[in-house]
Symmetry: C2
Subunit: 224 residues, 2 copies
């Protein structure tokens, strides 16, 4: 799979430390996968699919409480690598994440068995995997800390500003339920805050849609 090799060379800085048979192993155990929008890609401790290298689309990485509450941790786009979908091969990584396809997504998947053999046999590959994991885990900690320490109004303001920037639009097509899920809070909290933001003239709400009216005031609440 020449395409895989080219991507591996570009992304895996340990590539030139591999033996020829280790390179073959990776190539032979890598295949192209397609996930339809809305598909569950990786279900925490229930799965260990392997390492994903995203070619196009969008994956959402999140954590899940026992009673079903979600917190979005980060998103993966073109050429990003998902290492935590192979966390079963990393004994020191004990935190499990869930991954869904937020858009139709195409990726290269290297299966967990091959990854485990490689990490056991090659210290450079192993070190790369743990460095990558450390970066992900650090960013997830930062995110959870933000959520834990911030007041809900500030979190909603930040969420709306970020979402609007990402979309390049002042219209955000999400229900209160969906926003609550992204923020890791309850729907009631979002509804109460949206009501307050509406009264203050910051946003205008309609069914399944929020329009930002006063960006400057929102930015102030967000502390941006």
């Amino acid at each position: 799979m020449q395409e895989a090799t080219d991507l591996f060379i570009r992304h895996f800085k340990f590539w030139d430390k591999l033996t020829e048979s280790q390179k073959d192993l990776l190539n032979q155990h890598t295949r192209t996968v397609h996930y339809q929008k809305g598909t569950q890609v990786h279900r925490g401790p229930l799965d260990c699919i392997g390492v994903l290298l995203i070619k196009s689309g969008q994956l959402r990485v999140y954590t899940l409480s026992e009673d079903g509450r979600e917190v979005t941790l980060y998103r993966l786009f073109d050429e990003d690598i998902a290492i935590l979908s192979a966390s079963c091969t990393l004994d020191e990584v004990t935190f499990e994440v869930y991954i869904d396809a937020e858009e139709d997504t195409e990726a290269l998947l290297t299966d967990a068995g091959a990854i485990r053999s490689l990490l056991d046999a090659n210290i450079y590959a192993r070190c790369y995997a743990y460095e990558k994991a450390s970066r992900c885990l650090s960013e997830m900690l930062w995110k959870l800390q933000q959520i834990l320490f911030l007041s809900a109004d500030r979190r909603l303001a930040i969420f709306l500003m970020e979402e609007s920037e990402k979309l390049g639009s002042d219209e955000i097509h999400l229900t209160h339920e969906q926003i609550a899920r992204y923020m890791g809070t309850a729907r009631e909290v979002v509804s109460r805050l949206v009501k307050y933001f509406t009264q203050e003239g910051l946003v205008k709400g309609a069914r399944g849609k929020l329009t930002i009216l006063d960006k400057k005031a929102l930015q102030e609440i967000a502390g941006m």
Copy 2:
């Protein structure tokens, strides 16, 4: 420093992968340090003291919000290793922690400069450091997630049960302010919950002290 070498051999699984001069480097840049109870050992992004190997005492690792709220992440006891006090040498670890001495503590400190040279020169030492960091970061994530997802009453019940087990006593000598800090919540929340627990006959409160009266009921709230 023969004592240091003995401890390193026991704790650093990469020791036999080091050259003689790398072993010398570690030994020459390691010294015994003493921290009095209450001392700030490591102040997040302001410090990079190096790697600590605890000989006796207790260190508390915590995170801190901009407005001064703390959340205790974990504690280090005899023969534990603090790697995140050398996080400046680990470029992929971007989450900063604070460390205080909770008891008078004696430790071996290997300075950050020597650690950085070693991690740059030796892939086994580097991989060990990132594995260790991944474990710490995973556990911290688990802790923050628990706090984020649990209701405050359950968190207080868990805290009281854990504290009582650790002390081997039903009497917990902490103020509401201190308990709030350990739990990462506000003092008012703890006071309200303690009042409720008292009314239910679960605990008895006095100035700076809480006595557990009904362990079984607390366990049920804790979901243990």
